[in-house]
C-alpha cells in the first residue's frame, strides 16, 4: 500500500513538473486494490483470472508485481512503456501475461467486455474467474446493466465478479445528487446475485470480503456484485488539480496507525519503507527523463496485425 501510494504521488509530481501530460490514478483505493492484487490467480489463459480494470488500478498491479518503472514510463509516455508504447494515458495498463485487459478512458466499457472472457471461462472445468472494476459514476452507464443482465441469465450464469469502487464522486458531481439507490450493490439483488457492500478503506475487511466473494464466484460459477466504499485523495485527475483533498479517509495512514498501535510497526520502519520507495521512484523517473518517446515513423505500426499496412496511401 505504501509503495503504490508513493508511486502515485511521484506520478503527480512528474505531472506537476511538466514531465507528463496527464495524471489519473488510484490514490485512495489502496486498501481495496492491494488485497485484490494479492488474491487474484495471476497468469495467462482461461485457467487464470481475467482482470478488466478502470484507471485507478495501480494498487492492484503493484500488488501483482508490476515494477514502478512500468507505471512511470507509461505516465511519461516513453517508447519503453510496456503497456502502450507511449500511446496512452497514465494508469491505462495492459498486461497480457497476467490476463490484464487494456484499461481505457471510457468509464464503463470494461463491464461489457468482461462478459466475453467470463463466457469463455464458464466453459472450461477449473477455469479462472473474470473480475471487473469501476467507479460509482460508471454504474449509470448501460454497460453496467449489461454485466448484471448477461451474467445472471438462468442456466447461463457467468463466473464474473462485478466490483464497484464507490468514492461518492463522478468527476465533480456528487453521488448523492445522481443516485436514488441506497447502495449500488442492491441492484444485484434484482438479478438474484450475491451482493455486498463494505469499507474499502479497511484493507483487512477488503481482503476478507474479496476472498469470500472470489471463492464464491470461483466455486459456484455465478456472478457476485460487490461495492467497496473508498476515497479519492487527489481529486478526479490532473484536470482538477491533483491536489490533496481534505476530509477523506486516508487508508494508508489509518492502517499505518493501526499497525503502530498494535506494535507491528515503528515510526522508524514506516519512514524507512517510505523513503526507500520514494528514492526508487525518484531515481527511475530521473533515468526515464533521458529515454526517448516513440518515433514518429512508428505511427502506423500495429494498425493491423502482422505488419499489414492500414495506411491508405500505401494501398
Amino acid at each position: 500500500m505504501v509503495k503504490t501510494r508513493i508511486l502515485e504521488e511521484r506520478l503527480i509530481r512528474i505531472y506537476k513538473a511538466g514531465q507528463s501530460y496527464f495524471w489519473i490514478g488510484g490514490a485512495g483505493e489502496e486498501a481495496f486494490g492491494v488485497p485484490l492484487g494479492l488474491l487474484v490467480h495471476k497468469g495467462m489463459g482461461l485457467k487464470y483470472d481475467w482482470l478488466h480494470m478502470h484507471y485507478r488500478a495501480t494498487p492492484t498491479l503493484i500488488a501483482m508485481g508490476m515494477e514502478m518503472r512500468d507505471s512511470i514510463a507509461l505516465t511519461m509516455n516513453r517508447a519503453s512503456d510496456p503497456s502502450t508504447g507511449g500511446r496512452n494515458f497514465c494508469n491505462h495498463y495492459c498486461y497480457p501475461k497476467w490476463n490484464v485487459a487494456p484499461v481505457t478512458s471510457p468509464i464503463e466499457v470494461q463491464y461489457s467486455i468482461a462478459l466475453g472472457t467470463a463466457i469463455a471461462q464458464s466453459r472450461i472445468p477449473d477455469g479462472g474467474i473474470t473480475i471487473v472494476t469501476g467507479g460509482d459514476a460508471g454504474t449509470a452507464e448501460g454497460d453496467f446493466a449489461s454485466s448484471l443482465v448477461w451474467s445472471s441469465r438462468k442456466g447461463a450464469e457467468l463466473p464474473l465478479l462485478i466490483t464497484v469502487q464507490n468514492n461518492l464522486w463522478g468527476i465533480s458531481t456528487s453521488y448523492s445528487t445522481q443516485h436514488g439507490e441506497e447502495k449500488i450493490s442492491d441492484r444485484g439483488k434484482a438479478f438474484g446475485m450475491k451482493t455486498l457492500t463494505f469499507d474499502g478503506n479497511n484493507p483487512i475487511e477488503s481482503y476478507i470480503k474479496l476472498q469470500e466473494s472470489m471463492e464464491y464466484v470461483r466455486k459456484k460459477r455465478k456472478p457476485c456484485l460487490l461495492e467497496a466504499m473508498v476515497s479519492r485523495l487527489y481529486g478526479h485527475s490532473s484536470a482538477s488539480g491533483a491536489n490533496w483533498v481534505e476530509g477523506e479517509v486516508d487508508c494508508v495512514q489509518t492502517f499505518g496507525e493501526r499497525l503502530l498501535k498494535g506494535g507491528l510497526l515503528t515510526e522508524n520502519k514506516i519512514s524507512e519503507i517510505s523513503n526507500r520507495y520514494d528514492e526508487e521512484a525518484k531515481r527511475i523517473s530521473q533515468n526515464l527523463l533521458a529515454e526517448p518517446g516513440p518515433e514518429p515513423e512508428t505511427l502506423w505500426d500495429h494498425f493491423y496485425l502482422n505488419r499489414e499496412s492500414g495506411n491508405w496511401r500505401e494501398f
Binding site: 495492459c94 497480457p96 463491464y111 466475453g116 463466457i119 448501460g142
Partner: protein
Amino acid sequence: MANMAQALRLALHYGEENLGVTDIFGQDVGAPLGGVFTATQGLRTAWNSPLDERGIVGAAMGLAMAGSRCVAEIQFCDYIFNTIDLLKMAGNTLWSTNGQVSLPLVLMTPVGAGIHGSLYHSHSFDALATRLPGWKIVMPSTPLEAYGLMISAIKDPNPVLYLVPKALMRVRGEELIPGEPEQEKELRAMIDAPIGDRSQWKPRWPKIREYTLPIGKAQCLTQGEDLTIVTYGRMVNLCRSILKDYSEDSIELINLYSLYPYDWQMVKRSVQKTGRVLFLNEDSEVTNFGEHLAYRTTRELFYSLKASPRVLAGKNVPGIGLHPHLEDSTIPQESDLRQAMDELIHEVP
C-alpha cells in the same frame, strides 16, 4: 443456387467446423429463429443474446481477447450506433496496446434500403464504418461473394465488420458455392428450417469446400474504355442491370467488395484508362466514403481525368421515408445512375 442468407449460413457452418469458430451470437441468432434473415439457422455454435447491442459488441471483444473466435451480429445496422465507442475501441486495441492485444472477431450487420424498412431498417453504415481505423470493412454483392468474404473474414486476425446488403438476402446467385448441390430445392431441403415446430429439426450440411475472396482486393466485373464505376453491395446489381444499354466495351465496373483496406491500384489503373469515374453507393452523400475516393482520384490522377470525378449517393436527409416515393427519391435509382453515367461520358473537358 443459394441465396445470400443461405450462403452466409454455409460459410458460418464451414467456419465452425473448420476454422475454429466458437460462437455465433446476437439477438435472435440462435434457435428457433436463426436470425431475422435466417442466415444463422441450424448452426451448432449459434446462440441468442439479450437484446443489448453494447453487450453483444463487448462480449465479442472479450471472447476475442480470451482466444475464442466469434461472429457476432447486430440485427440491423440502424441499431449499431449506440455501440460506436466500443467499435472505436475494438479498432484501436491492437494499436493502443502497441501490438500486444489483437481482436480477431467478425461483426456482421445488415445494411441499406430496398425492403421498405423506413427510418430504422434502411440505414447504411459504410461511411461511418470506414471511419473506424483498425477494422476491415467488407460488403458482398452476390451469394458466392458473401460465402468467400465470410470465410476470409473469419480467417483474418483483425476485427472485420461484415456489412450485408439486406435487400439481397433473398436474391439467388448465378454461381454455385463450392460443394453446393446443383438443385436449389435440394439445398433448401437440407439447410432451411421448416415452418412451424423446429424443435427436432437438424440441418444436413452439404460437403462444402473453402473459397475465399482476398480482403483488400476488388473485382473488375466488366472492361470498358469510356467510364469507370466503383461501387459495392447492392449497387453492383443496379449497375449490372443497365450495362446492357451501353456498348460492350464502354463501362468498366469495379466491385469494391473490400472497403477498407481497398484496392486503389485497380481503381487507379482503370481511371488512368477511362479518364472518367463515378463512385456509387447508397449511404448519405455528405462525408461519404465515395468522397474520399473522389478526393484521392482528384489529388493523384488529376492529369488523367477527362471529367470531374463524381459521387452518386443517398440524399443527405434525416431518414429514409417509408413511402416508395420517399425511399426512391433518397437512394440512387436506375434513372439517377443512367443520368450520372451519361453526363460523365459526355462531359467535355
